[in-house]
Structures are given as structure tokens and as C-alpha cells.
Symmetry: none
Subunit: 201 residues, 4 copies
């Protein structure tokens, strides 16, 4: 009598290397055609994969795209990647440098293409929040918490609102105004909106 093994799956195992190839192909096509122009078939062809291979991994075009932008490098940044530099302003400068701005622009535009589906697909909405929104939000909350601890920010301020300010402005800029994110545009947000609203200096 043996312990029930975790039901080792039969048959040919998933080829895990396909995931990265597919996600990269997705990003390529997205960059070339935008979310609406992108076709699952285009991605499959570019990745030399069958459509079923894609749908075995992600349940819809939207999920695939979420996974693709979640795989972008700076999605994995955590608070520990931004060293405590002693002040909120310099922390934000450090964050700014750790962030790949062209990618941010693309990411926001693609996210813009997705939001139509968010309204009707709760599972997708959760995925977006968990994989795209929360990581950045958590990190920003961390920076703000540091600033509160230092005494730079009044602890009564609404930190959630403050933490949402940067992504909301960036998203709006990329998606509605259709203007790219630049070092200057980010600096302006920090100096003109975030720091004043936080009551720093």
C-alpha cells in the first residue's frame, strides 16, 4: 500500500518552453497592431503554435494578453527593488529609473484595449488586478508608508488615493490622450501632483 501520489498526469507533459515563446509573440503582435488589430491566429502563427496550444494555457484572447503584459520585466518590481533613499522624492526618482518607460506606454495602451472585456468577465478583472494593478500599487503603498514613518506625510492622509494617482494619470495619458510616457511627464506628475497632494515639503 502506497501513499496516494498527487495523481501524476498521464501522457505527454506540457512543453513549458512554449509559454515564453507564445507570450513573446503576443507582445510582438501587440506592439505592431494594438490590441484590437491583434488576432489569436496571428500570435499562433508567429509562435509557430496551434491555437489549441494557446487556449490550453489561457482561456481567452484577453487572458493571453494579460499574461503577456504581466510578463514584462518591470511587472515584477517589488518594494525591495527600490532602496530606501531617505526621502519620498528621491525614492520616486529611484523608482522612475527602475521603470522602463516605453514599455509602460505600451503596457498602458494594451491594458486600455482590455478594459472593454473587464466589464463582462469578472475572472479577467481579478487577473488584471492581481497581476498588473496590485504589484505596482503595493509597492507605491510601501514607499508612502516609508514616508509616513519618516514623518514626511501626515498619517491621516488617504494613502490609497495617493497611491492610485500615478497609475491613473499614466493610464489616462496613454489611453485617452494618446501621449507617450516620458521621464519629463513622470517628473511633472510627481512634482506637481503627487508630492503636493501628499503635503511633502
Amino acid at each position: 500500500m502506497t501513499t496516494a501520489l498527487p495523481s501524476l498526469p498521464l501522457g505527454r507533459p506540457r512543453d513549458l518552453t512554449r509559454d515564453a515563446v507564445i507570450l513573446e509573440a503576443t507582445l510582438d503582435v501587440l506592439a505592431e497592431t494594438g490590441y484590437e488589430g491583434m488576432t489569436v491566429e496571428m500570435v499562433a502563427t508567429r509562435a509557430r503554435a496551434g491555437k489549441a496550444t494557446l487556449y490550453r494555457r489561457w482561456p481567452s484572447k484577453a487572458h493571453l494578453v494579460v499574461a503577456a503584459i504581466a510578463s514584462l520585466s518591470d511587472s515584477n518590481l517589488t518594494l525591495s527593488d527600490v532602496p530606501d533613499t531617505g526621502s519620498l522624492r528621491t525614492d520616486l526618482v529611484a523608482l522612475k529609473h527602475a521603470t522602463d518607460n516605453p514599455n509602460i506606454t505600451l503596457k498602458m495602451q494594451i491594458l486600455g484595449g482590455l478594459v472593454a472585456s473587464l466589464q463582462s468577465d469578472q475572472q479577467l478583472a481579478d487577473r488584471v488586478k492581481d497581476d498588473l494593478i496590485r504589484p505596482r500599487s503595493t509597492m507605491m503603498r510601501g514607499l508612502l508608508a516609508r514616508a509616513v514613518a519618516r514623518g514626511e506625510i501626515d498619517p491621516d492622509r488617504d494613502l490609497d488615493a495617493l497611491a492610485t494617482l500615478m497609475p491613473a494619470m499614466t493610464f489616462y495619458r496613454c489611453v485617452v490622450l494618446n501621449e507617450p510616457v516620458t521621464v519629463e511627464s513622470q517628473e511633472c506628475l510627481v512634482e506637481e501632483l503627487l508630492l503636493p497632494a501628499a503635503g511633502v515639503r
Copy 2:
């Protein structure tokens, strides 16, 4: 000898009353099904119109929808609709009351459904900016200019950034976070972000 008339157009003129009927039908269908669920045929049927009548006026589903939300009453608000109450805070309260919040939520979600198309259709993007973004933006700039004139706001502040804050946060809230706009949520934006960032009080 007479002045040259502006070349009176031949043939049966457009029935301008159809425009309103069609736009209303569009808003009805949008409210019931959302942007993705809406069908041009649904709208045509509801408006007792042929599809050609719609496509004669607007070149695509997206353009039709932009026209529909642009026709919503509070899209036409101008600075003169918000009386000068003597302070930025009270002006913003007046604005808040002049705005239909449930409509705002719907409007933002519909706009969310559209942004995917903005990336590939420059003409549509222009329409959105001209008909949806600029009017509100202009009004908010007017309120801020009043405040500068009163001495409430330092004239060196970036008024564009400040004017963008509210719509950006509202759009992000409705479309990405999927939370409705309420009186409280708007008050919070004003008190926690806009007024502090503007340096008022």
C-alpha cells in the same frame, strides 16, 4: 446682382430628427448591454432605422457611440453653467451637483469600451478628444483660472495637470477598478487630492 448663396444642397435633406432618435436608441442599448454587447443592428432596429442610415452619419460603431455619449446632457456643460461661488472648493461642489453621477459611471465605462479602437483610428481619437475630453477639460481649466485670479492657487502651478486629475482618476476608477462613481468618491478626490495638490487652504 445677388450675393452667391452657399450652394443649396440638392436632393432630400438629411432628416435631422433621426439623429436624436438614433443616439437615444444607442444610449438605451449601451445601458442595457454595454459597449461590447451592443450591436449596430440592435440600435437600428430600436431606432426603426436602416443600418445604412446609421453608417451614412457615422463611419463605424465606435463613432456612433462617441456621438451618443457626447450627446449626454452634461457633456454640454460650460463654465457659465457653474456659478462663481467665491472659492474653488464651493465651485467644485456646484460642479458636482451639476453633474449626473450615474451617467458619469456609464459614460466612463462606455468610453472604456472605445479606447481599444482609439489606437487604430486617429479620426476617432480626434472625435473623442474634441467632443468628450476638451469640453470638460476646458471647464475645469476655467474653474482653476478663477481660483488663480482669486489668489487661491499659485499661478506657477501646472493647471493642465490639475485639470486632468479628476477625469483621470474617475476614468481609472470606473474602468480599471470597476467601482462606481459616488458623491463620496468625488468628494474624496477633491479633498484628498485636487485641493491639496492645488495648494488650496
Copy 3:
């Protein structure tokens, strides 16, 4: 006490010269594009007329086309146009020469385009029979009756069948086999089918 006048109609009278212009335009467009390619709008444009002017005269595209081919010259041939030459064969030669073969080909092809509508429009079917089929048929019956009178044809033969032979073969040739009517093709029909079937010589 006055004689009842034929109630002279009020308003602007029909411009009868438009009829001919429209029918000619119809034939032009038909010759260029065939029945299916022809559009009522094309005809109206070519005739510098409004569509209503066409529909005031003929109740549908099909009726217009019937009128157009009925207006072709050799539609008005009657028995008196074919002199009694003394034998059926020579009578048929005379008929052949009185007939415009290129027009016949076009006429048959256009008639081919119409037959789809004949199934669902009895009024149209009547028009075709009265204006296109019966005149030719009557003439051919006349030629055959002459031949019977001369003793060339046994009076017990089915003259209807014989009279139908030529148009049926011609129609089939033009419409299904897509081959033009020529002097030779018509001669072949007469010598190989009609005269033998009639028992002449």
C-alpha cells in the same frame, strides 16, 4: 349639356420624351453590365433622371427591363413584315434577314436575367408573354399557317410545338450555353430541326 371630357389630369403632365431616354439608358447599361450588374441608380444617372421618375413609369427593375427590350426594333415585327415568298424555307430566310441577330443575343441574355423574377411576379410574367413572347410566336404561327395552306405541312402536326422550337433553342443557346446567335446558327436550326420536324421536303 356637354360631352364628358376624359377628365384632363391636373398638374404637370408626364414628359413623354423621358421614356425613350430612360429605355435607351437601360439598354446601354444592360449591354455593359448584364442584368445582374445593372442598377436602377445607374440607369437613372445615365438618363439624368431621378429614380422616382423611373418607378412612376414601371413598378420594378424587372418591368423596366422588359419595357427596354420590348422597345428594341425587331420586337415590333408582324406577319406583314415578312412577305409570302412561296415556301416556308424562303419565308424563314426572309424572317432571318429582317431580324437583328446581335440584338437577339442581347435580348435573350437579358430575358435570361429576368426569369428568376418571373416565378414570383405573375404580372411581370404576363408582361413578358404579352410583349416579348406572343408577338414573335404569333408571327411564326402565321408563317406555319401559310405553309399548311400551301400544303407544305401536314395540318395534323402540332404547330404550337413547331412555333416554340426556334425561340426555345435560341434562348437556350444564348442563356445557358452562352453562345451568340449567328446567321449560321439560325440556318442550322431551320435546316436541321424546324423543317425536318415540320416534315417539309
Copy 4:
């Protein structure tokens, strides 16, 4: 070392059983509504198929309909289905019995609906000739050749013209005169036209 296989095609193969289902649905709809009343969507719905599945097989409504009537049983009759009965007259009687007259009427009317498209679509015209006209024509030529061999028909006669007589008269009867094909009508054609024209008896 092996012989090069005929490069077995990749991917899911066409489901050949769908063809028959679709063609049958086409015939059903045609019988109910006629060619003009038939809609590709109706056929797709009836066959529980998507429109794309139809258009993958046939490039237009007209091509679909040609395929459907070509699939009718008596389209596949060949000379060997009509036994040599010893005389042309009795051979034709045998042929008449091997033919489904109600179907013939329907077939001709449907073909009538198609001919409008033949003028503008050469590929379709070829299909009609190859799949609908030639098979019958070939068989009739075979019967006539038998009769020549027997000495019933003078070998100098134009057998093509004779072979065309029956289908042309039948087509004209169904499509222009709008009268159904009956046993009597066919007998009349044979006795009054075909046999006399062929010089039999």
C-alpha cells in the same frame, strides 16, 4: 528510400459529411422558397452550419445552388442507366421513366434563377456546363449514336442540334412559359419534334 507520398494535408480535414447535409438543406430551402427567396443564412441554419463553412466550399450562393442541383439523383444518370431497347423511341421512353419529372421542373426553375449570374461569372458558367449540361447532353448523344448505328438516323444529321432539342424545349417551357413538365409534355416533344426532326419512321 520511399516514394514521395502525395503530401498528406495538415490540419483537420474537411468533414465531407457536411457537404451532403448542406446540399440537402439547400435543396429543401430552394423547394420552399425558390432561388430568389433562398438565403445563404437559411441554408446554414437548416444545415446547422456556419456561413463560413458554406463559403469555404463554394464561393457564392450561385455556386452552392449549382452544386445542390448537380447532386440531384438524375444528374448522375449515364448512358448505361438507359438500356438499349432496340429503337430510339423506346429508348427515350426508358429515359423518360428513369427521370424524375417533378424534380426536372424544379431543377429547371432553379437553373432559371441562376442564369442571371452566368453572364458575369465565367467560372460559374463553366460549372453549370460541366456539372449540369454536359452529363445529360452526353447521354442523349449516346442514345442518338445508338440510333445512327441501328440505321434509324441518317449519319449526316446534326446530332448536336438534336441532342439539344429536349433540354432547350424543357428549359424554355419551365422558365419562360412557366408550365410544369409532365409525361404528356415530354411525349409530345418526342413524337412531334425530336423523332420527326431526326427522321425516324
